[in-house]
């Protein structure tokens, strides 16, 4: 019985995925995580530090690390890079002014060797706001095509406010990670 229990535990562990959510402040990272988890999103303070959410998604367990995006704490992002399977980069599509900041921070992040093997999902958030850029436009600004060969990536337009696009994005991410890691399944 004890052995079976251990085996089950390991098996369960194997199905775990570690997902890191990053992006500039005000992009909606925390709101996205809470929305996916079906929690109330009406009162969310800017993240001072980080939140961890563990949720069951299809047959996998996702450990989502939602790290604050304020400038002061961006330098701490690197503390969360280890063993990241999936990276979610959240963009405020309505914040036109800071798109170059956004690109610069993403470029810096992707230079990180510890993240080189992880799948990258870009969520073009706040699509419900009038005046927001489309995912295609965001992809162009961020020059995502440049990493076609070096990384598995995908951009999805979404709204953490309505929930639209979130599942589509996470479906892709989870499938992509699974196909890399659990090929034998």
């Amino acid at each position: 019985m004890g052995l079976l229990k251990i085996i089950r535990k390991i098996k369960r562990k194997e199905k775990e995925m570690r997902i890191l959510m990053v992006g500039l402040d005000n992009s909606g990272k925390t709101t996205i995580v809470l929305k996916i988890n079906g929690e109330d999103t009406s009162v969310i303070s800017p993240t001072l530090g980080f939140n961890i959410k563990t949720l069951a998604y299809q047959k996998y367990t996702l450990n989502i690390w939602d790290v604050g995006g304020q400038k002061t704490i961006r330098s701490y992002w690197r503390n969360y890079f280890e063993q990241t399977d999936g990276l979610v980069w959240v963009v405020d599509s309505s914040d036109l002014r800071r798109l170059d900041d956004c690109k610069m921070e993403l470029d810096n992040l992707l230079k990180e060797e510890r993240l080189s093997g992880s799948s990258l999902l870009i969520l073009a958030n706040k699509q419900d706001i009038k005046g927001a850029l489309s995912p295609t436009e965001i992809a162009k600004v961020l020059n995502l095509e440049a990493m076609d060969k070096s990384r598995h990536w995908m951009i999805v337009g979404c709204s953490a406010y309505t929930g639209e696009g979130l599942l589509e994005g996470f479906d892709w991410l989870v499938q992509d990670i699974a196909s890399r890691i659990y090929m034998l399944d």
Binding site: D25, N26, S45, L48, Q70, L96, D100, I129, V141
Partner: protein, 352 residues
């Protein structure tokens, strides 16, 4: 004996010879020595001379630089001349430094040290002067009419044209696209009425001494580079992002408020979550004080009718300690403005 005598004479001869040779050697040695002494004294002579000549030349150069430095105060009335003036001074300082370096091999180490110190002092006073007289481009507003016009303004005002990366250009082109907002104004009252229409993202940027009144709901509000402005906004159903403001008064209601790089500004807030500040100073907070016809309905539509008291729960990302941050405080009640009513139409109003 004969042999000995012979030997002796021989040795005498030899001795004499040797002595002569020695004498000669000694003489030549003396000669050499005296020659060397001479050459040495030749070397020493000019070197002592050049130390003093170095010092006099150095003092001369130094005083000329100093006098030109002191001149700059009088030139300061004409900023266009100031920069070439400073450039010239900095050139002479580096010449002086070179001069010290070239002479350093024969200078006593004390002189090298003291003259290098003089050079660095000169450099520092030049730096101080130029930063004092040519202030770094502080953020200031020009009354630009539109983005396109600002391009033509740039060469005229001799602003350095900063090379921009592709990404910046591309995002600028997106920023230039018509998103609703108030931009580049001086001394105006700007009114936006959105009671009927649905507004998404709204931008308030590059204003100086303006009053902004926004009646009705907007989804997201971006505030950037304001100076001495009053900004009164109705409910924001999403988030407010404020960056680079100085000497302003804000009254706003929102779900989230983030304030970056603000100085000497007052905030009258109603906010569902905790407002945050980052790189700010001299900020004061008070409860929301805005009123216009129909604000109650707008607030309840936006889910902002309840008072949470969060206006006072400010998180300072630059002050992650238990004690109160020095960058913000609660605005004393006797210094707060009363209720601000923006429903009265002003004749100078600009409708958008």
């Amino acid at each position: 004996m004969d042999d000995e005598m012979d030997k002796e004479t021989i040795s005498d001869d030899k001795q004499a010879e040797a002595e002569a040779a020695l004498q000669k050697k000694h003489l030549s040695m003396l000669e050499r020595l005296s020659k060397r002494q001479q050459t040495r004294s030749i070397n020493i002579e000019p070197s002592t001379e050049s130390t003093s000549s170095f010092l006099s030349r150095f003092t001369q150069l130094k005083s000329s630089i100093e006098s030109r430095l002191s001149e700059s105060q009088s030139i300061s009335s004409d900023p266009s001349q100031l920069k070439p003036h400073f450039d010239k001074i900095s050139e002479s300082i580096s010449d002086l430094e070179k001069f010290v370096a070239q002479s350093s091999y024969f200078l006593p180490s004390y002189d090298v040290r003291s003259s290098l110190k003089t050079v660095s002092d000169l450099k520092r006073s030049l730096e101080n002067l130029s930063s004092e007289l040519i202030p770094k481009k502080k953020f200031s507003f020009k009354n630009k009419v539109s983005k396109k016009d600002s391009d033509s303004v740039i060469p005229e005002s001799k602003q350095p044209i900063v090379p921009v990366r592709d990404s910046v250009q591309s995002s600028e082109s997106f920023a230039a696209r018509d998103s609703p907002g108030f931009r580049n104004k001086f001394g105006e009252v700007l009114v936006g009425e959105f009671s009927e229409t649905e507004v998404g993202e709204f931008t308030v940027s590059d204003l100086d001494s303006c009053e902004v009144r926004i009646i009705g709901c907007v989804r997201a509000l971006f505030v950037h580079r304001l100076k001495d402005c009053r900004v009164y906004v109705g409910p924001v159903t999403g988030s407010v992002l404020i960056d680079e403001v100085e000497g302003c008064v804000f009254a706003m209601a929102s779900h989230q408020i983030r304030i970056h790089r603000a100085r000497r500004s007052d905030f009258y807030l109603k906010v569902r979550s905790r407002p945050i500040v980052e790189d700010c100073s001299g900020m004061r907070f008070a409860p929301y004080c805005l009123s216009y016809r129909g604000i109650e309905e707008d607030l309840s539509c936006a889910g902002l009718d309840a008072e949470t008291g969060n206006w006072a729960n400010v998180d300072d990302f630059r002050w992650l300690r238990a004690v109160q941050s020095p960058n913000w405080s609660i605005l004393p009640e006797n210094e707060r403005v009363g209720t601000v009513d923006i429903s009265n139409a002003d004749s100078r109003m600009e409708e958008i």
